[in-house]
Amino acid sequence: MAILVIAEHDNAVLKAATLNTVTAAARLGGDIHVLVAGAGIGAVSQAASRVAGVAKVLAVDAPQYEAQTPENVAELVRTLASGYSHILSPATSAGKNLTPRVAALLDVAQVSDIVGIEAPDTFVRPIYAGNALATVKSADAVKVLTVRTTAFEPAGEGGSAAIEPANAGPDLGLVRLLGREVIKSARPELGAAKVIVSGGRGLGSGENYGKVLEPLADKLGAALGASRAAVDAGFVPNDYQVGQTGKIVAPQLYIAVGISGQIQHLAGMKDSKVIVAINKDPDAPIFQVADYGLVADLFAAVPELVAALG
């Protein structure tokens, strides 16, 4: 049977998280179909058709999918679901919003945030903020999964899948999108960045956060992140948050500045390749996971680091 991957996109660009999801789908065995539902999605469908391993792109182009509200999209997926053994999407904000709704309409139990595939019906997923890994077996006919993107490599290019238009479902008219404020940033996306500079309560204020961390992020071409404490304190917006209830990241280099390292934060970044911690408290738990710890006043150490990077 075939496998359906729900593409994440903004009607213009195929989001990188889709590529990791395709890799997870490839481990299951079966033709991979990618659903692109949106409005004016020609370029996204083209991009999806070029992803290695994809056999077919189902393109559903209709105004009721422009905002990609989960009510309309889940109903569409329900009508397309027969014939698929698995339905996958990335465990991003958008995927977490949509996919449980799909599972419910099919009366199946979604397996959230998988990090491993043991068999086509058996998956590994973190629980308790990643302090335990559960292996779960699904008894449902269709397996609905969300995929932790950091646990699977992105699929490459080189595919040449057929793009097949599919019929749109109804506009349920339950929700109206009034506006989106997406912060335009020249920095890489947090979920896909190779280097992340992340700040915590130790920075003291939003002003300090910008003043101290932005030059370092600029120097390293890094994305900016934060601990929940820094978000709660109002230093930065919520979508900077790395951790159990924020984003899960695994960059090549993660620099934690003024972050004490609560388990909820560690849950979001402990799979990073190299972790650097800069904190003045030598007993901060962040040092227990850091490859390189620097016990120092961040207000002196970070500018010094920026200077040293030349």
Binding site: Y128, A132, A134, T135, D140, L178, E189, Q288, D291, A308
Partner: protein
Amino acid sequence: MKILVPVKRVVDPNVKVRVKADGSGVDLVNVKMSMNPFDEIAVEEAVRLKEAGTATEVIVVSAGLGAVQETLRTALAMGADRAILVETDVELQPLAVAKLLKAIAEKEKPALVIAGKQAIDDDANQTGQVLAALLGWPQATFISKLVPGADEITVTREIDGGLETLAVKLPAVVTVDLRLNEPRFATLPNIMKAKKKPLETVKPADLGVDVTPRLTTLKVVEPPKRSAGIVVADVAQLVDKLKNVAKVI
């Protein structure tokens, strides 16, 4: 409007759980339990809507063993009006919980369900969305702002890269994110008063819901440990290590 708030009793967020040696799960014996932090935010929002005169009644619901009553009493002490406990010793998974909540919503007919976005034990992030789908209602997940209206609510959602504002027809299900509000602590007089508030107990069978788990947990293990590295003396040594040993810059 009537508001329904599901709450879950979970391991306290400050507890570091330990995996049982036989791999059957995590050790919950003598571990401090609390209301799921996101559910506290949900209760707080409902109570504020009541205080503002928008909500007429706030009903809290939980499911599980009798000990869950404690969590419901906490919600009553925060200001909810009455509580429903769905008592069962079956391991409850999100789909089953959503079906129980659907049955209660059909009976109570709330205009709004306010739920936490995720429970910090199973980290599934599903129940609100599943409930909305089962009821055929709209959903707004991860909200940081809620403005009530007559037939619809206006909500701000946390999305990747920013915020989104939606007009959502009632009845609806919303799930709350961190920045929505700062939950209050229950005061001692309110804890005393909460003991007298009504708490109704029902069984899944009374609601006509089959709660049999669909997922079987085969094993639970500890994740691979990350070993601590080294403490560097100064910035110069840090840069040297990153350049020449880790080779990441």
